[in-house]
Symmetry: C2
Subunit: 250 residues, 2 copies
Amino acid sequence: MAEEAAVTAAVLVIGDEILSGRTKDKNIGYIADYLGQIGIDLREVRIVPDVDDDIVAALNALRHRYGYVFTTGGIGPTHDDITADAVAKAFGVPISEDPRALALLLERIKPEDLNAARRRMARIPQGGELVENKISKAPGFMIGNVIVMAGVPSIMQAMLDGVTPRLKTGAKMLVETVEAGNLPEGLYAADLADIAERHNGVSIGSYPAFVDGRFRNSIVLRSKDEAVLARAVAETRAMIERLSRERKSA
Amino acid sequence: MAEEAAVTAAVLVIGDEILSGRTKDKNIGYIADYLGQIGIDLREVRIVPDVDDDIVAALNALRHRYGYVFTTGGIGPTHDDITADAVAKAFGVPISEDPRALALLLERIKPEDLNAARRRMARIPQGGELVENKISKAPGFMIGNVIVMAGVPSIMQAMLDGVTPRLKTGAKMLVETVEAGNLPEGLYAADLADIAERHNGVSIGSYPAFVDGRFRNSIVLRSKDEAVLARAVAETRAMIERLSRERKSA
């Protein structure tokens, strides 16, 4: 594997509706999968309410720490849509109506229907580049390393597709799963720790699920180095097979 | 409404598997609903990887800011289960095998099967009180204002039920929804902002969903004050009806 610097990212979900439980977030899992597939490592997620100070603080913490920050939510026409203003504040830049964004809105909205509320969706912080989407025409934007997207999943997904060609990506994380079935975690934990210890650059997790009154365990191995990953997977598989045999014959 | 201080909370989800997209989180939405129903306001959520420093930093940021912090994940027997140690580190207290936790494990595990990995699940930071669950016997714990729970949803849910009687709760948030149907957000945004402005203590959000190629909008009003909420709901409903009539006759 060529040595390549990891490209990292965080997701910032903005919205009272997620914190109140009214809306169940569908974007985090989608973005996590998506970034993994294009070679960007998702390292942190935060969910904050529609409160200016909270958005600014989270954004500034995340954008200085990670390669990219993807935000979702709060870019519509109503009074609770304050994301664009909060982003401008975080970057310390002015925000104003962007003629390119206005032109996009006018592809969908008649000039006589473009009231003040709708014009708010054309306000973009200075230095922001539009991120278009075909569904609503109201654009997201990218400023510095921050990508500002809608909260509605289908629109967010279109924006993610739209911005991807502009993103720097790194080596993809390779993932392999070894099913441990109903072999208890407690029986393989010591051997698995030993395998993890001896394979640098492979991150190994054990994940129990409780299905129909029984545990079923999966071991997930992740690495950007194919050869080391293959060795760790082979050892893990052999270890699970050995312990399963011993258990049956006990 | 009697004036009552709000009881606030944050959720800290711990786990590489959520950030990699392999596992789709099911706990955040559940906890959000649950806390709303018992009168605790969820104000922030963070998802961090299985990295000691990241867990400690997030936990210390959240536990000083909110009334409670609920963590999920990382309390099993394998090497990637480091939550209990990170919590001890965050609180600056030692961690050791807890006889009560060991006794619980022995209800399910034969003494000769209680190996070192399984005994790890009985390690509790000094000062922690156990949070039991009937499904796995391996307990979570509460230390200070931090409640440490499993990541497996059914076990997490049992622990949440187990700890609730010990929690301070506040006034419940009352929630009403006014359906705006296919009336565009841009048409009611100004009137809605005006209603929000005139009803202190009512938080109003407008939430578009994109279903079968069309937007459908819902307006959600939330308050702990029943009378003010009822007035804001009545005004919102009347406003949506008026705009819908005007639109049809236009």
